[in-house]
């Protein structure tokens, strides 16, 4: 069973690596942020499977922390690109 969970964890890492290709290519900032979000989901999966492979239930807490904070980057990104009154018009919104 341990080997199976390790294999799953490794396959999940590979899917994360695939998502990082999108983060590298872009083209828009939003594509990169989406890739970051996907990395976050991947890492939750890796933490779960690694915890099962090692028989260490405390790794679930790491998955919980990753889940709770997963929306942080997206929320900050949306706040940073939303047009604001204080900003100049025609400002670079990327």
């Amino acid at each position: 069973m341990t080997g199976l969970f390790y294999a799953a964890a490794m396959a999940l890492l590979v899917t994360v690596a695939l998502a990082l290709v999108r983060a590298w290519k872009g083209p828009g900032t939003i594509d990169r942020i989406m890739a970051a979000q996907l990395v976050g989901t991947g890492v939750i999966g890796v933490a779960l499977t690694l915890g099962a492979a090692r028989g260490d239930a405390t790794m679930l807490d790491a998955a919980l922390v990753a889940t709770l904070l997963a929306a942080l980057a997206v929320a900050a990104f949306v706040a940073s690109r939303a047009p604001r009154g204080a900003r100049k018009d025609g400002e670079d919104r990327s």
């Binding site: 799953a8 890739a35 997963a70």
Partner: protein, 97 residues
């Protein structure tokens, strides 16, 4: 292998498959709005299947409850972020004042 182990292996395989589908979708889909589907749907199905496999492996109600919270919060987050990212990608392609 017992029946339970077959079930766990099957769930893990399906989970990884959906994760892979999500990553491929993010790579292959033509624009941001359609990539959002891959990100917020396929990946969270994958996470759900992997979570189920891990919960079956632990075979404890307390651990399973914690894993359920992880997954529920993940889809809740996906729902919220999908909306704001969709809004953002709409602003990007349709630059209204």
């Amino acid at each position: 292998m017992t029946g339970l182990e077959y079930a766990i292996a099957g769930l893990l395989f399906m989970g990884v498959f959906f994760y892979a589908a999500g990553s491929l979708g993010l790579l292959r889909f033509p624009d941001s709005a359609s990539r959002l589907h891959a990100l917020t749907k396929a990946d969270n199905v994958g996470l759900g299947l992997v979570a189920l496999a891990v919960a079956l492996h632990w075979g404890s109600v307390a651990v399973a409850a914690k894993i359920a919270i992880v997954w529920l919060f993940a889809i809740f987050t996906a729902g919220a972020t999908a909306q704001v990212l969709g809004q953002s990608s709409k602003d990007e392609t349709d630059p209204r004042p």
